[in-house]
Amino acid sequence: MTPKILSVDDSKMIHMVIGKAFKPYDVQLFYATNGVEGLAVATRENPNLIILDVTMPVMDGVETLTKLKSDPLLKDIPVIMLTAEAGRENVVKIARIGVRDYMIKPFKEEALIEKAGRIVDLQAKGSGSGKAKSITDPATILVVDDKQAIIQQVQDAIAEYPWTVIGTAQCGEAIDISARENPDAVLVSLSLPDRAAFNFFQMIRANPKTKSIPVFGMCIKTALEEQAQAQSIGFTGIITKPIDPGDLNFRLTKAMSLDTSAKYFKMDGAALMISRIPNSISDIIANEINSHIKPKTQEMVESGVAKMIIDMTELTKIEMGTIKLMLTIMQNCVDLSIKYRVAGSPEFIAQAKTFAETKDLIIYASREAAKEGF
Protein backbone atom coordinates (compact mmCIF):
# COMPACT_ATOMS: atom_id res chain seq x y z
CA MET A 1 0.00 0.00 0.00
CA THR A 2 1.27 3.46 -0.88
CA PRO A 3 1.52 5.74 2.15
CA LYS A 4 -0.15 9.14 1.87
CA ILE A 5 1.83 12.08 3.23
CA LEU A 6 0.38 15.55 3.68
CA SER A 7 2.65 18.59 3.90
CA VAL A 8 1.02 21.64 5.49
CA ASP A 9 3.25 24.68 5.04
CA ASP A 10 2.78 28.18 3.66
CA SER A 11 6.15 27.97 1.91
CA LYS A 12 6.27 26.56 -1.59
CA MET A 13 9.98 26.05 -1.03
CA ILE A 14 9.32 23.65 1.84
CA HIS A 15 6.76 21.77 -0.28
CA MET A 16 9.36 21.43 -3.01
CA VAL A 17 12.06 20.28 -0.59
CA ILE A 18 9.64 17.70 0.82
CA GLY A 19 8.65 16.63 -2.71
CA LYS A 20 12.30 16.18 -3.61
CA ALA A 21 13.06 14.26 -0.41
CA PHE A 22 10.28 11.72 -1.02
CA LYS A 23 10.78 11.47 -4.79
CA PRO A 24 12.70 8.18 -4.63
CA TYR A 25 9.94 6.57 -2.55
CA ASP A 26 6.57 5.13 -3.37
CA VAL A 27 4.40 7.71 -1.58
CA GLN A 28 1.44 9.88 -2.48
CA LEU A 29 2.09 13.49 -1.52
CA PHE A 30 -0.57 16.11 -0.79
CA TYR A 31 0.02 19.78 -0.07
CA ALA A 32 -1.85 22.48 1.85
CA THR A 33 -0.74 26.05 2.51
CA ASN A 34 -2.38 26.63 5.90
CA GLY A 35 -4.12 24.78 8.70
CA VAL A 36 -7.64 25.22 7.34
CA GLU A 37 -6.68 23.71 3.99
CA GLY A 38 -4.64 21.07 5.80
CA LEU A 39 -7.60 19.91 7.89
CA ALA A 40 -9.77 19.72 4.76
CA VAL A 41 -7.18 17.64 2.87
CA ALA A 42 -6.62 15.42 5.93
CA THR A 43 -10.36 14.74 6.19
CA ARG A 44 -10.60 13.95 2.48
CA GLU A 45 -7.43 11.92 2.01
CA ASN A 46 -6.87 10.34 5.43
CA PRO A 47 -3.07 10.56 5.16
CA ASN A 48 -0.70 8.21 7.01
CA LEU A 49 1.51 11.11 8.04
CA ILE A 50 1.20 14.88 8.27
CA ILE A 51 4.25 17.16 8.14
CA LEU A 52 3.00 20.34 9.76
CA ASP A 53 4.64 23.76 9.88
CA VAL A 54 4.19 25.88 13.00
CA THR A 55 4.19 29.43 11.65
CA MET A 56 1.51 29.88 8.99
CA PRO A 57 -1.12 32.45 8.14
CA VAL A 58 -4.89 31.81 8.48
CA MET A 59 -4.44 28.93 10.96
CA ASP A 60 -1.05 28.16 12.47
CA GLY A 61 0.38 24.72 13.16
CA VAL A 62 -0.37 24.66 16.88
CA GLU A 63 -4.07 25.42 16.33
CA THR A 64 -4.18 22.91 13.47
CA LEU A 65 -2.60 20.23 15.65
CA THR A 66 -5.07 20.96 18.46
CA LYS A 67 -7.97 20.58 16.03
CA LEU A 68 -6.51 17.38 14.56
CA LYS A 69 -6.15 15.83 17.99
CA SER A 70 -9.71 16.72 19.01
CA ASP A 71 -11.27 15.24 15.86
CA PRO A 72 -12.15 11.54 16.23
CA LEU A 73 -11.62 11.07 12.49
CA LEU A 74 -8.13 12.58 12.44
CA LYS A 75 -6.65 12.21 15.91
CA ASP A 76 -4.68 9.03 15.14
CA ILE A 77 -2.81 10.49 12.16
CA PRO A 78 0.86 10.84 13.18
CA VAL A 79 2.24 14.36 12.90
CA ILE A 80 5.80 15.55 12.43
CA MET A 81 5.98 19.20 13.37
CA LEU A 82 8.31 21.49 11.42
CA THR A 83 9.46 24.55 13.26
CA ALA A 84 12.15 27.18 12.91
CA GLU A 85 12.00 27.64 16.68
CA ALA A 86 14.02 25.10 18.60
CA GLY A 87 13.43 26.67 22.02
CA ARG A 88 12.49 24.33 24.85
CA GLU A 89 9.23 26.15 25.57
CA ASN A 90 8.08 25.78 21.98
CA VAL A 91 9.04 22.12 21.75
CA VAL A 92 7.36 21.27 25.07
CA LYS A 93 4.19 23.08 23.96
CA ILE A 94 3.85 21.08 20.73
CA ALA A 95 4.89 17.82 22.41
CA ARG A 96 2.08 18.25 24.93
CA ILE A 97 -0.56 18.45 22.23
CA GLY A 98 0.69 15.16 20.83
CA VAL A 99 3.17 15.12 17.98
CA ARG A 100 5.01 11.99 16.93
CA ASP A 101 8.19 13.88 16.19
CA TYR A 102 9.47 17.33 15.28
CA MET A 103 12.08 18.82 13.00
CA ILE A 104 13.92 22.07 13.40
CA LYS A 105 14.36 24.19 10.28
CA PRO A 106 16.77 24.24 8.54
CA PHE A 107 16.72 20.50 7.99
CA LYS A 108 18.41 17.97 5.73
CA GLU A 109 16.21 15.90 3.43
CA GLU A 110 17.83 12.71 4.78
CA ALA A 111 16.83 13.64 8.34
CA LEU A 112 13.21 14.07 7.27
CA ILE A 113 13.21 10.71 5.47
CA GLU A 114 14.74 9.06 8.53
CA LYS A 115 12.00 10.44 10.81
CA ALA A 116 9.18 9.72 8.34
CA GLY A 117 10.55 6.20 7.80
CA ARG A 118 10.04 5.48 11.49
CA ILE A 119 6.34 6.19 11.05
CA VAL A 120 5.39 5.00 7.57
CA ASP A 121 6.77 2.17 5.51
CA LEU A 122 8.87 3.88 2.85
CA GLN A 123 9.52 1.61 -0.10
CA ALA A 124 11.73 2.60 -3.01
CA LYS A 125 9.72 3.32 -6.15
CA GLY A 126 9.00 0.22 -8.19
CA SER A 127 9.74 -2.19 -5.34
CA GLY A 128 6.10 -2.82 -4.34
CA SER A 129 2.96 -3.92 -6.13
CA GLY A 130 1.34 -0.49 -5.58
CA LYS A 131 -2.07 -2.09 -5.13
CA ALA A 132 -4.11 -0.64 -2.31
CA LYS A 133 -5.13 -3.24 0.25
CA SER A 134 -8.86 -3.57 0.54
CA ILE A 135 -11.14 -4.28 3.46
CA THR A 136 -12.03 -7.55 1.74
CA ASP A 137 -8.42 -8.79 1.92
CA PRO A 138 -7.24 -11.05 4.76
CA ALA A 139 -5.40 -9.32 7.61
CA THR A 140 -3.95 -10.35 10.96
CA ILE A 141 -4.71 -8.49 14.18
CA LEU A 142 -2.61 -9.26 17.23
CA VAL A 143 -4.37 -8.64 20.55
CA VAL A 144 -2.25 -8.60 23.71
CA ASP A 145 -4.43 -8.70 26.83
CA ASP A 146 -4.54 -10.87 29.92
CA LYS A 147 -8.37 -10.81 29.83
CA GLN A 148 -9.65 -13.43 27.43
CA ALA A 149 -13.00 -11.58 27.29
CA ILE A 150 -11.33 -8.58 25.67
CA ILE A 151 -9.69 -10.74 23.00
CA GLN A 152 -13.12 -12.24 22.34
CA GLN A 153 -14.70 -8.75 22.13
CA VAL A 154 -12.18 -7.74 19.48
CA GLN A 155 -12.86 -10.96 17.59
CA ASP A 156 -16.61 -10.32 17.67
CA ALA A 157 -16.19 -6.68 16.65
CA ILE A 158 -14.32 -7.54 13.46
CA ALA A 159 -16.22 -10.73 12.65
CA GLU A 160 -17.66 -9.28 9.42
CA TYR A 161 -14.16 -8.99 7.89
CA PRO A 162 -11.83 -11.75 6.70
CA TRP A 163 -9.37 -10.86 9.45
CA THR A 164 -7.67 -13.27 11.81
CA VAL A 165 -7.23 -12.41 15.47
CA ILE A 166 -4.21 -13.81 17.31
CA GLY A 167 -4.60 -13.39 21.06
CA THR A 168 -1.96 -13.64 23.75
CA ALA A 169 -1.64 -12.55 27.37
CA GLN A 170 2.17 -12.29 27.30
CA CYS A 171 4.16 -9.45 25.76
CA GLY A 172 7.17 -11.73 25.30
CA GLU A 173 5.10 -14.06 23.17
CA ALA A 174 3.61 -11.06 21.37
CA ILE A 175 7.10 -9.93 20.34
CA ASP A 176 7.78 -13.36 18.83
CA ILE A 177 4.40 -13.38 17.06
CA SER A 178 4.99 -9.87 15.70
CA ALA A 179 8.37 -10.83 14.26
CA ARG A 180 7.04 -14.10 12.85
CA GLU A 181 3.58 -13.10 11.57
CA ASN A 182 4.15 -9.39 10.86
CA PRO A 183 0.56 -8.53 11.85
CA ASP A 184 -1.31 -5.71 10.12
CA ALA A 185 -2.21 -4.10 13.46
CA VAL A 186 -1.63 -4.67 17.17
CA LEU A 187 -3.90 -3.93 20.14
CA VAL A 188 -2.20 -4.07 23.52
CA SER A 189 -3.62 -3.53 26.98
CA LEU A 190 -1.93 -0.62 28.72
CA SER A 191 -2.78 -2.07 32.13
CA LEU A 192 -0.56 -5.15 31.79
CA PRO A 193 1.75 -5.46 34.82
CA ASP A 194 5.19 -3.78 34.96
CA ARG A 195 4.44 -1.36 32.14
CA ALA A 196 4.79 -4.32 29.79
CA ALA A 197 2.76 -2.63 27.03
CA PHE A 198 5.16 0.31 26.87
CA ASN A 199 8.24 -1.90 26.74
CA PHE A 200 6.53 -4.05 24.11
CA PHE A 201 5.76 -0.95 22.04
CA GLN A 202 9.37 0.21 22.16
CA MET A 203 10.62 -3.22 21.07
CA ILE A 204 8.14 -3.27 18.18
CA ARG A 205 9.33 0.15 17.03
CA ALA A 206 13.01 -0.79 17.40
CA ASN A 207 12.70 -3.74 15.02
CA PRO A 208 12.96 -2.62 11.37
CA LYS A 209 10.58 -5.42 10.38
CA THR A 210 7.79 -4.37 12.75
CA LYS A 211 8.43 -0.63 13.19
CA SER A 212 5.61 0.43 10.85
CA ILE A 213 2.87 -1.76 12.35
CA PRO A 214 0.07 0.37 13.80
CA VAL A 215 -0.08 -0.23 17.57
CA PHE A 216 -3.14 0.78 19.60
CA GLY A 217 -3.17 0.91 23.38
CA MET A 218 -6.30 -0.36 25.15
CA CYS A 219 -7.45 0.95 28.52
CA ILE A 220 -10.49 2.17 30.39
CA LYS A 221 -11.72 5.70 29.65
CA THR A 222 -10.60 7.07 33.00
CA ALA A 223 -6.98 5.85 32.75
CA LEU A 224 -5.88 9.27 31.56
CA GLU A 225 -2.28 8.97 32.72
CA GLU A 226 -1.72 5.75 30.76
CA GLN A 227 -3.39 7.29 27.72
CA ALA A 228 -1.16 10.39 27.88
CA GLN A 229 1.97 8.26 28.27
CA ALA A 230 1.03 6.06 25.33
CA GLN A 231 0.32 9.07 23.14
CA SER A 232 3.55 10.77 24.11
CA ILE A 233 5.69 7.79 23.06
CA GLY A 234 3.89 7.43 19.75
CA PHE A 235 1.18 4.75 20.01
CA THR A 236 -1.00 4.92 16.88
CA GLY A 237 -4.05 5.58 19.04
CA ILE A 238 -6.03 4.58 22.12
CA ILE A 239 -9.00 2.22 22.11
CA THR A 240 -11.06 2.62 25.25
CA LYS A 241 -12.84 -0.23 26.98
CA PRO A 242 -15.64 -1.24 26.73
CA ILE A 243 -14.79 -1.58 23.05
CA ASP A 244 -17.13 0.12 20.60
CA PRO A 245 -17.15 -2.21 17.55
CA GLY A 246 -17.88 0.60 15.07
CA ASP A 247 -15.08 2.77 16.43
CA LEU A 248 -12.62 -0.15 16.51
CA ASN A 249 -13.39 -1.13 12.91
CA PHE A 250 -13.11 2.41 11.69
CA ARG A 251 -9.79 3.05 13.41
CA LEU A 252 -8.25 -0.26 12.40
CA THR A 253 -9.19 0.22 8.73
CA LYS A 254 -7.77 3.75 8.84
CA ALA A 255 -4.55 2.69 10.55
CA MET A 256 -4.07 -0.15 8.06
CA SER A 257 -4.89 2.24 5.19
CA LEU A 258 -7.48 -0.16 3.84
CA ASP A 259 -9.73 0.74 0.98
CA THR A 260 -13.19 0.52 2.58
CA SER A 261 -15.17 1.35 -0.56
CA ALA A 262 -16.21 -2.31 -1.03
CA LYS A 263 -18.47 -1.91 2.01
CA TYR A 264 -20.58 0.64 0.20
CA PHE A 265 -19.94 0.19 -3.54
CA LYS A 266 -20.18 -3.17 -5.27
CA MET A 267 -20.57 -4.20 -8.88
CA ASP A 268 -23.65 -6.23 -9.78
CA GLY A 269 -22.67 -7.95 -13.01
CA ALA A 270 -20.54 -6.08 -15.51
CA ALA A 271 -22.65 -2.98 -16.06
CA LEU A 272 -24.33 -1.99 -12.80
CA MET A 273 -22.91 -0.48 -9.61
CA ILE A 274 -24.81 -0.85 -6.33
CA SER A 275 -24.25 1.85 -3.76
CA ARG A 276 -25.40 0.55 -0.39
CA ILE A 277 -26.17 2.94 2.44
CA PRO A 278 -26.26 1.20 5.84
CA ASN A 279 -28.81 1.89 8.55
CA SER A 280 -28.11 4.46 11.30
CA ILE A 281 -25.12 6.26 9.84
CA SER A 282 -22.76 7.97 12.28
CA ASP A 283 -20.77 11.03 11.23
CA ILE A 284 -17.74 8.77 10.89
CA ILE A 285 -19.52 6.43 8.46
CA ALA A 286 -21.09 9.33 6.52
CA ASN A 287 -17.65 10.86 6.13
CA GLU A 288 -16.19 7.54 5.02
CA ILE A 289 -18.90 7.01 2.38
CA ASN A 290 -18.54 10.62 1.24
CA SER A 291 -14.82 10.13 0.64
CA HIS A 292 -15.55 7.23 -1.74
CA ILE A 293 -18.30 8.82 -3.85
CA LYS A 294 -16.17 10.86 -6.24
CA PRO A 295 -13.43 8.28 -6.88
CA LYS A 296 -15.94 5.44 -7.27
CA THR A 297 -18.18 7.29 -9.73
CA GLN A 298 -15.13 8.42 -11.72
CA GLU A 299 -13.83 4.85 -11.73
CA MET A 300 -17.25 3.71 -13.05
CA VAL A 301 -17.13 6.10 -15.98
CA GLU A 302 -13.54 5.21 -16.80
CA SER A 303 -14.41 1.51 -16.91
CA GLY A 304 -17.56 2.02 -18.98
CA VAL A 305 -20.15 1.43 -16.23
CA ALA A 306 -23.01 3.91 -16.61
CA LYS A 307 -25.75 2.75 -14.22
CA MET A 308 -26.07 2.82 -10.46
CA ILE A 309 -28.68 1.77 -7.94
CA ILE A 310 -28.56 3.70 -4.69
CA ASP A 311 -29.75 1.09 -2.25
CA MET A 312 -31.40 2.59 0.85
CA THR A 313 -33.46 -0.52 1.67
CA GLU A 314 -31.61 -1.10 4.96
CA LEU A 315 -32.67 2.30 6.27
CA THR A 316 -35.55 2.45 8.70
CA LYS A 317 -35.12 6.10 9.61
CA ILE A 318 -34.33 8.95 7.26
CA GLU A 319 -32.21 11.83 8.54
CA MET A 320 -30.74 14.98 7.02
CA GLY A 321 -27.30 13.35 6.94
CA THR A 322 -28.68 10.42 4.93
CA ILE A 323 -30.43 12.73 2.50
CA LYS A 324 -27.29 14.80 2.04
CA LEU A 325 -25.32 11.64 1.28
CA MET A 326 -27.91 10.41 -1.21
CA LEU A 327 -28.05 13.83 -2.91
CA THR A 328 -24.24 13.88 -3.17
CA ILE A 329 -24.25 10.48 -4.89
CA MET A 330 -27.08 11.61 -7.21
CA GLN A 331 -25.27 14.86 -8.06
CA ASN A 332 -22.06 12.97 -8.88
CA CYS A 333 -24.08 10.65 -11.13
CA VAL A 334 -25.63 13.63 -12.91
CA ASP A 335 -22.24 15.34 -13.32
CA LEU A 336 -20.76 12.22 -14.89
CA SER A 337 -23.87 11.22 -16.92
CA ILE A 338 -24.42 8.07 -14.86
CA LYS A 339 -28.04 6.85 -14.82
CA TYR A 340 -29.29 6.05 -11.36
CA ARG A 341 -32.27 4.64 -9.54
CA VAL A 342 -33.04 4.69 -5.83
CA ALA A 343 -34.40 1.73 -3.87
CA GLY A 344 -35.74 2.14 -0.34
CA SER A 345 -37.52 0.33 2.46
CA PRO A 346 -41.25 1.12 3.02
CA GLU A 347 -40.26 3.30 6.00
CA PHE A 348 -37.75 5.15 3.87
CA ILE A 349 -40.28 5.71 1.07
CA ALA A 350 -42.89 7.04 3.52
CA GLN A 351 -40.44 9.41 5.23
CA ALA A 352 -38.85 10.57 1.98
CA LYS A 353 -42.19 12.12 0.96
CA THR A 354 -41.98 14.51 3.93
CA PHE A 355 -38.66 16.08 2.87
CA ALA A 356 -38.62 18.80 0.21
CA GLU A 357 -35.45 17.33 -1.31
CA THR A 358 -36.90 13.85 -1.82
CA LYS A 359 -40.68 14.23 -2.02
CA ASP A 360 -40.78 13.91 -5.81
CA LEU A 361 -38.09 11.22 -6.05
CA ILE A 362 -39.12 7.89 -7.58
CA ILE A 363 -38.08 5.25 -5.08
CA TYR A 364 -38.32 1.55 -5.91
CA ALA A 365 -39.49 -0.83 -3.20
CA SER A 366 -36.48 -3.13 -3.51
CA ARG A 367 -33.15 -3.50 -5.24
CA GLU A 368 -34.68 -6.10 -7.55
CA ALA A 369 -37.55 -3.77 -8.46
CA ALA A 370 -35.05 -1.00 -9.29
CA LYS A 371 -33.11 -3.37 -11.54
CA GLU A 372 -36.16 -4.31 -13.61
CA GLY A 373 -36.01 -2.63 -16.99
CA PHE A 374 -33.03 -0.48 -15.96
Binding site: V17, M56, A86, G87, R88, N90, K105, P106
Partner: protein, 158 residues
Protein backbone atom coordinates in the same frame (compact mmCIF):
# COMPACT_ATOMS: atom_id res chain seq x y z
CA UNK B 1 30.62 41.13 20.23
CA UNK B 2 26.91 41.12 21.02
CA UNK B 3 25.22 37.73 21.57
CA UNK B 4 22.67 38.56 18.86
CA UNK B 5 25.48 39.02 16.33
CA UNK B 6 26.94 35.64 17.25
CA UNK B 7 23.54 33.93 17.05
CA UNK B 8 22.70 35.52 13.69
CA UNK B 9 26.09 34.54 12.24
CA UNK B 10 25.60 30.90 13.24
CA UNK B 11 22.02 30.81 11.99
CA UNK B 12 22.75 32.34 8.57
CA UNK B 13 25.64 29.97 7.93
CA UNK B 14 23.56 26.96 9.00
CA UNK B 15 20.55 27.89 6.87
CA UNK B 16 22.65 28.45 3.74
CA UNK B 17 24.66 25.31 4.20
CA UNK B 18 21.77 23.00 5.15
CA UNK B 19 19.06 24.19 2.77
CA UNK B 20 21.06 25.40 -0.23
CA UNK B 21 24.40 23.60 0.19
CA UNK B 22 26.09 27.02 -0.12
CA UNK B 23 29.03 27.80 2.14
CA UNK B 24 29.37 31.40 3.22
CA UNK B 25 32.03 33.26 5.16
CA UNK B 26 31.44 36.13 7.52
CA UNK B 27 33.25 39.35 6.64
CA UNK B 28 35.01 40.10 9.92
CA UNK B 29 35.95 43.60 8.71
CA UNK B 30 32.31 44.61 8.35
CA UNK B 31 31.21 46.90 11.22
CA UNK B 32 29.04 45.11 13.77
CA UNK B 33 27.26 48.30 14.76
CA UNK B 34 25.08 49.53 11.94
CA UNK B 35 24.37 53.18 11.46
CA UNK B 36 20.80 53.62 10.30
CA UNK B 37 19.48 54.41 7.79
CA UNK B 38 20.79 51.41 5.87
CA UNK B 39 20.51 51.44 2.10
CA UNK B 40 20.01 48.06 0.48
CA UNK B 41 20.10 47.12 -3.15
CA UNK B 42 18.39 43.88 -4.03
CA UNK B 43 15.82 41.78 -2.22
CA UNK B 44 15.13 42.05 1.48
CA UNK B 45 13.41 39.52 3.73
CA UNK B 46 12.17 40.71 7.11
CA UNK B 47 10.56 39.18 10.19
CA UNK B 48 9.35 41.18 13.17
CA UNK B 49 9.89 40.02 16.73
CA UNK B 50 7.81 41.16 19.67
CA UNK B 51 8.18 40.43 23.37
CA UNK B 52 11.27 40.75 25.52
CA UNK B 53 13.12 41.30 22.26
CA UNK B 54 11.34 43.84 20.07
CA UNK B 55 12.41 44.72 16.59
CA UNK B 56 12.95 43.52 13.06
CA UNK B 57 15.46 41.12 11.49
CA UNK B 58 16.41 41.80 7.87
CA UNK B 59 18.25 39.60 5.39
CA UNK B 60 19.50 41.49 2.34
CA UNK B 61 20.26 39.42 -0.75
CA UNK B 62 21.79 40.53 -4.02
CA UNK B 63 19.59 39.59 -6.99
CA UNK B 64 22.25 37.21 -8.29
CA UNK B 65 22.50 35.39 -4.98
CA UNK B 66 18.72 34.94 -4.83
CA UNK B 67 18.84 33.16 -8.20
CA UNK B 68 21.70 30.94 -7.01
CA UNK B 69 19.90 29.99 -3.81
CA UNK B 70 16.64 29.26 -5.65
CA UNK B 71 18.40 27.19 -8.31
CA UNK B 72 20.16 25.20 -5.62
CA UNK B 73 16.95 24.41 -3.73
CA UNK B 74 14.30 24.29 -6.43
CA UNK B 75 16.38 23.35 -9.47
CA UNK B 76 17.52 25.50 -12.40
CA UNK B 77 14.78 27.62 -13.96
CA UNK B 78 15.72 30.74 -15.94
CA UNK B 79 12.05 31.81 -16.01
CA UNK B 80 11.45 31.50 -12.26
CA UNK B 81 8.79 33.92 -10.97
CA UNK B 82 9.62 36.56 -8.40
CA UNK B 83 6.90 35.02 -6.25
CA UNK B 84 8.91 31.81 -5.96
CA UNK B 85 12.02 33.81 -5.14
CA UNK B 86 10.11 35.75 -2.48
CA UNK B 87 8.95 32.49 -0.95
CA UNK B 88 12.53 31.26 -0.59
CA UNK B 89 13.77 34.57 0.84
CA UNK B 90 10.84 34.67 3.28
CA UNK B 91 11.51 31.11 4.43
CA UNK B 92 15.24 31.76 4.89
CA UNK B 93 14.50 34.88 6.94
CA UNK B 94 11.99 32.91 8.99
CA UNK B 95 14.54 30.18 9.70
CA UNK B 96 17.27 32.63 10.72
CA UNK B 97 14.90 34.59 12.95
CA UNK B 98 13.39 31.40 14.42
CA UNK B 99 16.89 30.24 15.30
CA UNK B 100 17.69 33.62 16.89
CA UNK B 101 14.41 33.52 18.80
CA UNK B 102 15.24 30.10 20.30
CA UNK B 103 18.69 31.22 21.41
CA UNK B 104 17.32 34.45 22.90
CA UNK B 105 14.56 32.51 24.70
CA UNK B 106 17.25 30.40 26.38
CA UNK B 107 18.69 33.69 27.72
CA UNK B 108 15.28 34.74 29.05
CA UNK B 109 14.24 36.96 26.16
CA UNK B 110 11.04 35.30 24.97
CA UNK B 111 9.42 36.74 21.91
CA UNK B 112 7.00 35.98 19.10
CA UNK B 113 7.65 36.12 15.37
CA UNK B 114 5.63 37.58 12.55
CA UNK B 115 5.12 35.96 9.17
CA UNK B 116 7.96 37.02 6.84
CA UNK B 117 7.70 39.97 4.46
CA UNK B 118 9.78 40.43 1.33
CA UNK B 119 10.69 43.82 -0.13
CA UNK B 120 12.16 44.54 -3.54
CA UNK B 121 13.60 47.82 -4.65
CA UNK B 122 16.61 49.71 -5.84
CA UNK B 123 17.47 51.21 -3.47
CA UNK B 124 15.53 50.31 -0.29
CA UNK B 125 16.18 52.47 2.75
CA UNK B 126 15.75 50.77 6.11
CA UNK B 127 15.61 52.98 9.15
CA UNK B 128 14.83 52.42 12.80
CA UNK B 129 12.14 54.33 14.67
CA UNK B 130 12.92 53.19 18.19
CA UNK B 131 15.61 50.81 19.38
CA UNK B 132 18.87 50.62 21.19
CA UNK B 133 20.40 47.86 19.07
CA UNK B 134 21.47 48.24 15.44
CA UNK B 135 23.56 45.22 14.51
CA UNK B 136 24.81 44.17 11.12
CA UNK B 137 26.73 41.33 9.49
CA UNK B 138 27.97 40.71 6.02
CA UNK B 139 28.76 37.36 4.43
CA UNK B 140 30.27 36.41 1.10
CA UNK B 141 29.57 33.22 -0.77
CA UNK B 142 32.81 31.26 -0.94
CA UNK B 143 34.57 31.69 -4.26
CA UNK B 144 32.20 34.40 -5.56
CA UNK B 145 31.42 38.10 -5.17
CA UNK B 146 27.87 37.38 -3.97
CA UNK B 147 27.01 39.05 -0.70
CA UNK B 148 24.33 38.66 1.96
CA UNK B 149 23.88 41.18 4.76
CA UNK B 150 21.85 40.96 7.93
CA UNK B 151 20.45 43.76 10.05
CA UNK B 152 18.86 43.55 13.46
CA UNK B 153 17.14 46.71 14.67
CA UNK B 154 15.82 45.90 18.11
CA UNK B 155 15.24 46.78 21.72
CA UNK B 156 15.87 44.40 24.61
CA UNK B 157 13.40 44.55 27.49
CA UNK B 158 15.89 43.89 30.32
Amino acid sequence: MHDITLFVRGAVREVFSTMASIDITCNEEFPEIATPPFTADGIVGSVSVTGKLNGVVYLVFSANLVKKVCNSILGDDPTRSSQEENDVIGEFTNMVTGNLKSKMADKGFNCKLSIPTVLRGNPITIDVADGNLSLSNQFTVDGTQDVISTLVFAKLDE
